[in-house]
Symmetry: D3
Subunit: 214 residues, 6 copies
């Protein structure tokens, strides 16, 4: 049996495995929970919270590196930032008019983290704190990435014909703090085909003509 780091290794056998299994069971709920805000624009079955998180974390990495920060950490902050929504579901901006769920989300996160070993719990709690308070440059980047991902997904739905998503994009535009995220959004806002932009020129046609002049 191998131990990857002999000195800092935590003995998995001494950990509360039942609690750890509960924590892991819970994060899979994020696949079933959907991005509620897109329903406002007519989307019947929007993408999942995990769809959002995976892309937002990549964006955080890139923005972070461009801003001269450590991408790994920026991405990690985003990675855990929506875990509370496993318990309280995703809240859109019309619901926000009626319910302030900030405290509830923090309480949900706190209870989730209690299922983890102390040291991991503290680290993730700190990542969450940086995200919520934006007290560190990495926290600012993470929040910008979170918003940017939403705006770009809104762009994709908008290109597909759904309504009033420019409004979403404009709100994100105002909220963004870093110049990097702002300029990326400006660049993409201008394109008419963000959905399909990436593969232009990459298709390889495989047919061969039999009758050349036909």
């Amino acid at each position: 049996m191998i131990t990857l780091n002999n000195t800092k290794y935590m003995d998995i056998k001494k950990i509360n495995l039942d609690d750890l299994a509960k924590f892991i069971s819970e994060i899979y709920m994020l696949k079933r929970n959907k991005r509620e805000g897109f329903r406002l624009s007519g989307v019947d079955n929007p993408d999942s919270l995990t769809d959002h998180v995976a892309i937002a974390a990549q964006l955080a990495y890139i923005i972070g590196e461009l801003e001269g920060l450590e991408g790994n950490k920026c991405a990690a902050i985003v990675l855990f930032h929506d875990n509370g929504e496993a318990r309280i579901t995703d809240q859109h901006k019309v619901a926000a008019r009626y319910i302030d769920n900030k405290e509830a989300e923090q309480q949900a996160i706190a209870e989730q983290l209690n299922l983890l070993p102390e040291s991991i719990k503290n680290k993730i709690a700190n990542l969450n704190k940086e995200f919520e308070s934006r007290s560190t440059p990495e926290g600012i980047v993470a929040k910008d990435a979170d918003w940017l991902e939403s705006a770009l997904q809104a762009k994709i739905y908008s290109e597909q014909g759904y309504q009033n998503l420019e409004n979403w994009i404009d709100n994100v535009s105002k909220a963004l703090e870093t110049q990097t995220a702002k300029i990326i959004l400006e660049e993409i806002k201008k394109t008419g085909n963000f959905t399909t932009k990436w593969w232009q020129g990459l298709k390889k046609m495989t047919y061969e003509k039999i009758y050349k002049k036909s």
Copy 2:
């Protein structure tokens, strides 16, 4: 205007924004690409690659920390590991019988990364290399997290009635390298209700009886 890190800051205005927009456009394709292997067991519309990546990255963080490594880095390796599948789609183990796509995936990743500024490109390329070669402890953890996520999703589909997923779980069980991942999988394999385990005891009933004895 704010620069988060004055010394290491990369000037977004000097970057090839068109290429960056292409890279970002491409990662959204991962939401539309699905986990093909689950179709083998009868799942008609499996979860997306981003669904998989977000959870696998969280698992990598946790396994990494338990193994005494830096969670941030383990998670970052997972975060980018499936990007090549935007171009070549997800390959299941029956397809693997006929096609060795390792090289193709590396070529796809190389071309994707060429769209990014040099320094970021090199960093992500290195993360990918650690994943593929498992030449570092973090690379080993990332691969284990990738496998573990699949096995646990297989558990969820299995609990829902889909077929022959124990076979998937057993294969992962053999492939895993770290004791941490192995024991987590053993723990969860035993449970009959991994899908719903997390919320047992958390529901708050809100009704009040009017007629106490009715």
Copy 3:
């Protein structure tokens, strides 16, 4: 041009049509909003709020008539009871642990109803009040029908293999006030095939044998 009731007729041309159109636009949101609680049991794309409302209103009619009340009124109470969720989305019982949304829902309903002509607004507001306070027999029936519908949909998901829905059914069982609803639930709980019970014996085979002894 026809006026159906000459004496009580409200002149549609004197009504704020823009507000009325807004109200109607909003209720269509109930088709896009889903029954969030079923995600807890592993359902990825649960039925809509309107799916729930239509069946619950029929149940309210039936229970109401059995209880010696006017079915029409019982059904009408159910019909409007979830409109507030167009704005605040459906809340499940784990979320209820963290957020008390009662007041928010009432505020959302109040703002919605302000879009309607005074007399209609007051009538629907009263229906809502009877539902929330259960101060009338019809309000009690409506609430029972709302719960019963959820329990029976849970039965259907449960028969399909989803997990831990007996727990849902049991909670409804305890909450129900009317004997009628209780007994209906008891009756259906016992059946193993509630989903398909209705069409047993109704299929008409249309084939004719060509070779009688084959």
Copy 4:
């Protein structure tokens, strides 16, 4: 144990519970049956019959009240009007060219209602008769609401890019009898964003700027 109305109460224990359970089992089929007509315009997975019924019943209430009638009754007529389609499925207007299913629907409804206690059966049969014959003002309102709901859902699909739904809306426009329904349809036909009209101005932005001038 409580009886809500001591004098008119029907003893649930004396009722044929097996038949009642069959009736209830059957109405859940309406969630699985879809609005077939929208497939003509390219919709692959249209909304359910219950989606339609819930909104049409609300519209019937509103139109009824505006026409000076009792909303409760207008809504109740709509509530049950599609039950026959549990057995014969929804028929679109191209199918209507080949099959006259009026009689079949009435026979299906009659057989369904035989599962209910006599008095409830008669009441619902009467509601159905008013709908089919439009022999009462409430029947006229109910039919108008049924049509109007379809036209407004067609508007929503049309705004999302599906084809030839104006044709649907125009046909409804000609069929409507009440001035109230006609004017509501005219009002909404003019809007370009019926899907999203309701929440304009309701979103509450929750971000706070860190760097005011950035």
Copy 5:
């Protein structure tokens, strides 16, 4: 320009292209129309008519060849047999209790075929006739293949947990005429994992162990 068969070639330029385009437009509707019967067993979004046709035609080819007939012709009969359902939708066996749609289907098919050039129209009309009347061995095989496909899809849904599909399989079992189809169905009925049977032993594991004894 190439003509594949100089003597029998029909000049496409002399054909009514608008009518031909209509015929082709119509067959795409078969992708949007679903197998209604499976909803009876609780399936919310069943497979399409084209899903059914493609597999049934392959089965007809195989059964036909086993029965000593020309597979091509057997398959062709199945290929067109559901085209009428583009106009009248798929009818399940509960609906068949109330509506005899045989004549309607033939009328729909006749009108469709009028859009095709005379000679093709006659050929497809004859294929349809063989299917309906089972007046030829190939017609018998085609009908058996149609039924067998449904029974095997029912088996797949049944293995996934849906209800009362054995009933469907048994009815097909009685209706089948050819010994070939009967024995295939008997063989498959016995298996517990028809869904996943095909790939047993085909998966290629691609992992390599780093730490052999771990």
Copy 6:
């Protein structure tokens, strides 16, 4: 017991039924596998391989007959042409840039066919050969039908608002060999409503006015 062709009949009881059941189990996988290329244009849940095959086979029949060939055979070639994709999944044109899967597909097909009795295996292998090599007129027609089906489905997605599908249609336009297929595509490319073209004029309105002048 009936034997449809006494002289050529193959005795089903002497056939390897387990292998035959595997072959049949495998073709049902084609329902779960999707047309991957459409994801490039933003389609989240594209149509299945069987959806494609059923329509392409009908097109092959029609093109074949118009070209003076036997429609039955042209259709049969298409019917089996995608079976290999049950094992290797559908490959789009971006993936084709990185992976040449021609050989893999032929190997997969060879292994599949080994499950069938010798004579049937040889016949289907020959149909596949004609498709791949286009060495016969029927093979040319089959390939054209395969391409044409994709282009017309692309047209339907394009009319629904998805992006960059003209590019797909143009590529097919260049690849097509037969004048018949080319002209059909040209005809349909010009229409703005290919999705709904077929039912124009076919709807039967069923309403009757009560108040003629209203």
